[in-house]
Amino acid sequence: MSQNVSQLLGLARSGMLARLQDLDVASANLANVNTTGFKSARANFQEMLDDAAVSGVRPAATQMLLKPGSLRTTSNPLDLAVEGEGFFAVQLPDGRTAYTRDGTFSRDSNNQIVTATGLRLVWQGQLPANLEDVHVNPDGTVMAQQAGVWSQVGQIPLTRFNNPTGLAGFGQNMWLATDASGAAQNGTATAAGYGTIHGNTLESANVNLAEEMTHLVALQRAYSLSVRSFQQSDHMFALAIQMRRG
């Protein structure tokens, strides 16, 4: 096995870079501990070999963790939470469909159901203008009260993916379908695998604070270790270079 300066220092450097990338992911998780419907992410690292020569570590993928967040009750009947795998579909301004677990919906001035940022929820139906009260059933059917009478005005579908971890982050707590995630499969809530919709409820972020903090401590130590190994590799080279003085 031959050694050269860049390889030996590169090994320790790859360890330091991996820990920094991990820190980015951990920071994003911690920053979103109070974001409704947020799904935490995990940086997956993999050993790197090049023709059997050790080459350190590389990031393989950032995986979206699908653990459910805890549900909390609210006073808004259009606060929706999915218990299960499904996502809500929302219409982006450019016509594309994005998917979210953040069910902070409300009624806008055009009687549309919109997200907190004003994007329209994709559903079959229409809220009546003279709406007195609204209620969403576990299967997604939307009940509206007009003049004291309840009637069904539509249904909110759910979307699921073969590989939700393959969804591309769009920002604002939304995701886009990709080749890796597979095509969007639209279905009805309460159907097998889609999940149940809860009205007057929001899903908290699935970030486990204690777990994230422990991870943060561990990765900080791992970073120090990599720095130490970088220093030692550097020192060894310096010794070799200084060998001939006289």
Binding site: M1, Q3, L8, L11, A12, S14, G15, A18, R19, D22, R42, N44, F45, Q46, E47, M48, L49, D50, D51, A52, V54, S55, G56, V57, A60, A61, Q63, L65, L66, K67, N162, N163, T165, G166, D179, A180, S181, G182, A183, Q185, A192, G193, A218, L219, R221, A222, L225, S226, R228, S229, F230, Q232, S233, H235, M236, L239, A240, M243, R244, G246
Partner: protein, 254 residues
Amino acid sequence: MIKGLYAAASAMAAGLTRQNLLSHNLANIDTPGFKQHLVTLDDFLYTRQTTPAPKTLGGEAARVLGWPGLGVETAAPEIDFQEGALRQTGEPLDFALQGAGFFQVRTPDGDRYTRDGRFLRDADGQLVTSEGYLVLDAAGAPLNLPLGTVAVTGEGALTVDGQAAGQLAIGVFADPAVELQRDPQRGNLFTAAAAPTGTEPGTVVQGYLETANVNPAQIMTQMVAVGRAYEAAQLLVQVQDELLGRAISTISRL
């Protein structure tokens, strides 16, 4: 004299190789299923040294000075297959093997074995590793998982919403250190010359990952030892060089 110089230099080269592997192990301290690289040192050939045939003393035995070593080299790296600790993740498609055995996965270059249980369902519903290699069932076929709640028994039988969905292949090797080699290109995967023949596989645990079997305290102490040995070897080179230089200058004055 020159022999000693190269012996000391070989110790420096071995030190760099060991430092290489320690850095690599450290870099993978957070890689699930990672098995650390071990390095062992071998002596070079020994050569017999004798004095020139003296005029007065007979017999060869009296002239032998000894068998000084010519230095040190690193032997082929070995794999430490010691089991890492399990860490809970709560992810339904994270699996760990508690005890003997390896998951079997399919790469474009053939089937491989791994202890890294970070699995995913791909776009076609097949169970794959985090790098996209197919995870195989006991019959050597890919595992197809319909959508739903995945559960696994300790023996590796998968169910989705209570319906049977295949059996994870778990290859058991009686002596992995002898039977398995590293895949030269793909980290964390091992190749085997022959099919696994061992019995008594470990228990499959869902929602857990096996952490790397890298012990930071051990690596740090090894690194200190490597550093000091390297410094000593470097000093030896300098001393040899100094002696040689003195010999040259002294003799030239005569």
